[in-house]
Every structure is written in structure tokens, then in C-alpha cells.
Homo-oligomer: 402 residues x 2
């Protein structure tokens, strides 16, 4: 396999994966299923929001001009012309000198252009309302179309829909939207030493961790994982399973069998497909150098290292950015100790976050990189770019939280 | 209803909700369904991880002492004693002066205590290996139990399980875990002017936004929402629906009918239940003062304001922290302009985040608080505590991202 070695740097590899990632399909879903999905259409408002002039206080609808100059000592006297009920159309218009009771959310009667809060009024008998504070024109009123105008772009394609966005769509009467379909992602673990998780390993064997951790990570990226049986490093069986997985999924993530070991047949199998194209074989990163990507037809196969820590780190680093519809949250923190790193290679270091006074501190977890417990102790990772030879204690770093 | 007014400050209200929140039930789930769930048990390791001494490089297992002092010019000469296959138990032990080929992940043969990387060796004929760099004892080896020791606490109760945690559990052969059950949360919209989203409002009517936005927000908190039909402000019908919702859920979130308006009957209905206890009615916050909480038996009913913006903001502020099993991500940012606020009241202001050089800037969205479009434009909110009278431009603020 050595002759195929095609090692890229981290940015080039990520770019190759992004460019060769299958395009997302679309589907129409009811609004109740749309939260957390990404819009596949531009949304134009079908109507004005609000649809009518509404008050945002409990009080009296007035002609604002009738209240100008009034005060605690010199209230305005207005004629009480009735009451507006919430949810009802108003069938009268307000003349100068008149006012009417209006509850929060009520429709402003034609003629009026302001609302006085009830706190600044007093009822005098049945017919007269005293107003102790002036209101400006359109004060305490949300005007028709002030929130959203009919025809306005509400959301662009690509918007991740959050609860407040669902609320805005609901308020416009939009009950269905086109969203991106989740990717179907096949997961294959390979290796002669790998056994199912529910079996007890004999000496020399290890459990199939990657099928579990990668499936969970794929789900976190809003993708649908499908896990295939563990395959020994056997060309024919592996090729048959890869063929099935490619056919049933958009992307296939394999782990194991991608280091340059004599028993590794993954790359041979992938390149044996008629329409296979090697994107890269090897990334100048730590951990996870023996990562590779092969395009087969319009599907993408990514081979990750077999070791569970490297496999999951590489998933976060090169697969998640392409799969995921929103990036990992990033927190700024101060590094608590010096970290050495080798120039010419991108390093990804798991860190623990903790509060130090008002700031976040990031403590690098520098134990042996193969320890599963290190990833479980970590809150995220930092990236040391290939041109750097390490970071100093106290440096400001960005922690990609996972 | 005025006589019941019991206004708390924000911290007191949150504390009341937390204290009176129903306790979480538990359930046993397979590991494949455990990601994103919260552990309801302490996990002790049933075994050592790794279960045997493994090499982390491709190369030769050696007695480390045999390589001491060797160099490029003066290699150590070792007898080649065979090859270790990955996944196989080793049935021989290595004598002094011997070495054997071992692939990454292979089991170290008894007797040996280090592994030399293949890069620093050379094969001389069939029987001799030259070693050009010394290794220390246990160098390039992951020792039995070095990752996790048998009996060690792996996770505490309350741990949110991420893909790496699922991986660690899988590597220990743990295939099922006890996790907290999601809360069932009933959602009821009330108000005479509220109509279903798929209907066209007549003048004066508005669509039922809250059932959609609150259900989406509840789902984001890993809870299971159940939406009930919109209820007009009618005591008997509302009481019947609340009774059903309480019976079918752990928590019920109502919206509308909690301002001190004449048509609001929600509090009357809630306090009419035999075992009702008013926790508070009103919180000194903006927006969302007319928020209330009533405990009925062991269930909790939270009444939010009817206006969609206030309802969702109050959900984020007082419901989500209790419901949610992990807090909203917080980002530090610099405020881009002065904000005034009233002392004696906690203010929550939606903000937009953008990058300014290497830092985040938070631009407050200070338009009319009732605009749905403002929440959609916002990336999160900031909290101005009740003792403050505002914040200055340039102040460092924490943005709760939603």
C-alpha cells in the first residue's frame, strides 16, 4: 500500500472532505418537527406581522394629541366611548376627545394612535377618563407590519431553526418547511483483534469501541448512523460489506485497517471499486495521521485510525465539520501550562476547562494519547497549527467543546 | 386575583421552581441509546483497561535494558525471536537479548518491557535486528490497567454522556446503563384571541405561537412535550384541561392568562385544585413579570405570559435551568453600547454576537420587546442583575446562547 501514500496537511484534508462531501437532499416537514433542522428554502413572509395595530399595555386607546400637555395636576378629560375585547374586530372609530378601554394585545380602534397605560388614568363616573401623562403618537402600540412586513425575507436558506425561529414561522402561519435531510452514515469497524462489546475479550483482543462512539458522534451531528458487523482484515468480505454500506448510505466511516500495517487491506479494498478516487492517505496531524478518504461514485468513504481515541478525535476534527450543520461551541480560555508541539504537523490536544475567577482556564491533558479516560475527562480540544512549535502557559486559546 | 399577588425576585423564583420541580425518574437503556442522556448510577469499572500490556507503535518488543546505550553508530544487536499477531495471545516469553515483531495494539510478550519503533531498527539477515535508539522501561507501552483500573469509579451519577463517554463504557463491556427519564411536559395556550396556526386570523386574532415555540424549546431541553388544545378563558373548560395535563405529565407550562387582566382565569383555576400551593405570582423581571408557579400535588404548573417573546424568554430564564440537564453555553463578549435598566428588577436583553478581531462583541437588540423578529435575530441574551442600573458600552458580559 505504501506506493499510494498521499499525505496532506490538515487544512487540505478538510477541504478535500468538504469538496467531495455528498450534497444534502431535502424534505418537507411539519413545523412541529422542524426545530434543530436546517432550512432548505428561503422564507418570505406571506403577511404583515402583526396583522393589525395592537396595544402592548392595558389601558385606554386615545388620540395622542388629546393627551399632550396633561400632567398629574392638570389631567386631560376624555369621553369614555366603550371597551375593546381581546380577539374581536373593532367596529367603531374613535373621534377626537374620546377614548376606549383596551387590554394588552387588543386591536387599536381606527382613528386612535396611542394607548395610555391604566396606571396613569382614573375613571370619573361612568363617562369620563382622566389622563395624567401624555403619550406620543404610536406610543405603546405595535403597528401593523412593524415586526415583519409582507414579502420580507424572514429566513435564508441554511438557517438552523431554533425554538424562537419556529415561533416566528408559526406567527406567520407557516406550517411546513423544506429542510435538509440528515445524512445516512454507515459505520464499519475492522480488525482481527476486534470483538463485539458484549463479548469478553480473550488476551490480545479488544472490544469494538468505535461502532459505539462513532455512532453516538454521528447522531450528535444530526446524522443517521447505521452500524455494520465487525470485519476481519479479509479482502473479499470487507469489499462486500463496503459495497453494501456505500449503497445504503451517503457516507461510510471505517475505522481500523488504515495504519500502514501488513494486515491492513482497507485502502486496497476501497481502491478496488471501479469508480474509486483516492483523496488522501495520511494527514499531518497528531493524533490520527493514518486517516484517509476515498470517493467512490458520489459517495465518500473516510478511513479513521483503529485506536478509539484517535478515531473519535479525527471524527471531531475532519468529519464533524463537514457533517455537522452547526459548529462545535468555542470557548476562550487561558492555557495553564506550556505545551510542546512539532512544527509541520497540526496538533489537537484534549483539555479540561475550569473557572479561574472570572475567566476560563484550559488544562491540557497530556497523558498518553491512547487513554480513553483522557477523552472522557476532557471538555474539548485545542488546535496547535502546524507552523507553531508549541504554546506558552498563559496563552489565550480557543477550546472546541465536545 | 389581585389579592394573591406574590411577587418574587428572579433568584427567589428560580429557587422556588428548582425546589418544587418533580424529581426525575430513571430507566435502563442500551448503550446505543445512551448518548445525550444523564447517568442515574455510579459506574465502577468491572475490569482493567487495557486488559493486557499493549504496544502503541509498530516495531519490536524488547527488554529495554538491551537497548541502553545504543546509537546510530553503535546499534544494539538483538536475536529475532518471531512475530506477534494482533488479536492473538502470546504463548512464549522473551529472553534477554531477544526481540520480536509487534504491531500497534499487539500484546507485549512476557519478559519484555518496551517497544522500539520500526523506524529505529534494521533487519540484518533472518535472525538479527539492529536497534539504533534506546527505549526506557515501558516506553511505547500502555500497561494493563493504565487507562482504567478494575473497581475504579468511571462516572458519577449525573454525568451527561457524550460520544467519548459512550466509547469508554463500550471499552469496558458495559452495554446498558441507568439514565434519567425525560420529563413529560404539558403545554397549554390560553386566550380568547388565540387561534390555531393553520387558520387565518380575523382582525383582532393572533395565531398560537407558544404551542410551537415552547414545544420546540422543551424538546431542546431533552424533555417530551405534549401540546393540548387552545383554551378560551373559560374556568370550567380550562380546569378540565389542566386536570388532564397534570395527570399525564410531570410539569405543565401554560401561557397567556397570567397577566392581571379581567379575563384571566388561569390562577383561579390552578388554586381551585384541592392540593394547590401558590409558589409565586409575578417576578421582578423584564420581560415577563406576570409569570407564576403553582404546585399541585407533586406536579408543577408554570404560567408564562401570553406574548410569544415574553413567554419564550421566561421559558429560557426560569424553566430551562430546571428542566435542562446541561446549561446553555455561555460566551464572554464586550457590550457595544450603553444599556439602561431599572434597579430592583432583573433585566434580560437579547443580543447579537459578532467577531471583532479576536473577541466577541454583543450588540443589544433594544427594539420593542414584543417583536418576534428580535428573538430570531438574537444569538442569546444577557442578564442585568437587579442591583444594577444598566451597563456601559465596553462592559464584559456573559451571553447565554440560545
Amino acid at each position: 500500500m505504501g506506493e499510494f501514500l498521499k499525505v496532506l496537511n490538515f487544512q487540505e484534508a478538510l477541504e478535500q472532505i468538504r469538496q467531495n462531501f455528498p450534497s444534502c437532499k431535502e424534505e418537507r416537514v411539519p413545523l412541529t418537527d422542524a426545530c434543530g433542522r436546517v432550512l432548505a428554502e428561503e422564507i418570505l413572509s406571506p403577511e404583515d406581522l402583526p396583522a393589525f395595530n395592537r396595544t402592548v399595555v392595558d389601558g385606554y386607546a386615545v388620540h395622542a394629541e388629546d393627551t399632550f400637555g396633561c400632567s398629574e395636576s392638570l389631567p386631560a378629560f376624555l369621553d369614555f366611548a366603550g371597551e375593546i375585547k381581546i380577539g374581536c374586530e373593532v367596529d367603531f372609530s374613535l373621534s377626537k376627545g374620546q377614548c376606549c378601554w383596551i387590554p394588552t394585545g387588543g386591536m387599536l380602534p381606527p382613528g386612535s394612535n396611542g394607548a395610555v397605560m391604566v396606571e396613569y388614568t382614573e375613571k370619573l363616573g361612568d363617562d369620563t377618563i382622566l389622563v395624567y401623562r401624555p403619550v406620543g403618537p404610536w406610543e405603546n402600540i405595535m403597528q401593523k407590519g412593524e415586526d415583519i412586513r409582507k414579502g420580507q425575507i424572514v429566513f435564508n436558506r441554511g438557517q438552523l431553526l431554533r425554538p424562537q425561529d419556529i415561533g416566528l414561522l408559526a406567527s406567520l402561519g407557516i406550517c411546513e418547511v423544506d429542510v435538509l435531510k440528515p445524512y445516512h452514515t454507515g459505520i464499519i469497524s475492522t480488525g482481527d483483534e476486534i470483538i463485539p462489546v458484549d463479548q469478553t475479550p480473550m488476551v490480545g483482543q479488544v472490544r469494538d469501541v468505535n461502532s459505539f462512539s462513532l455512532a453516538a458522534a454521528v447522531k450528535n451531528c444530526r446524522s443517521i448512523p447505521q452500524v455494520y458487523p465487525i470485519i476481519k482484515d479479509d479482502f473479499a468480505i470487507l469489499k462486500a460489506e463496503v459495497a453494501t454500506a456505500i449503497q445504503q448510505n451517503d457516507i461510510v466511516i471505517m475505522s481500523g485497517g488504515s495504519s500502514v500495517g501488513i494486515m491492513d487491506v482497507t485502502l486496497d479494498v476501497l481502491l478496488d471499486f471501479a469508480d474509486a478516487k483516492l483523496l488522501f492517505h495520511g494527514i499531518a496531524v497528531k493524533p490520527g495521521k493514518p486517516t484517509m478518504a476515498v470517493k467512490i461514485g458520489d459517495k465518500l468513504v473516510i478511513g479513521l485510525p483503529g485506536h478509539p481515541v484517535s478515531a473519535l478525535m479525527m471524527f471531531y476534527i475532519v468529519c464533524a465539520p463537514a457533517l455537522k450543520l452547526s459548529p462545535l461551541p468555542v470557548i476562550k480560555a487561558q492555557l495553564t501550562e506550556n505545551i510542546a508541539s512539532q512544527a509541520g504537523r497540526d496538533d489537537f490536544i484534549p483539555v479540561q476547562l475550569y473557572r479561574e475567577g472570572n475567566e476560563w482556564a484550559a488544562r491540557p491533558l497530556l497523558g498518553k494519547s491512547g487513554l480513553m479516560s483522557i477523552l472522557s475527562m476532557a471538555d474539548g480540544y485545542i488546535h496547535i497549527a502546524y507552523e507553531k512549535q508549541g504554546l506558552k502557559k498563559g496563552a489565550s486559546v480557543e477550546v472546541y467543546c465536545f
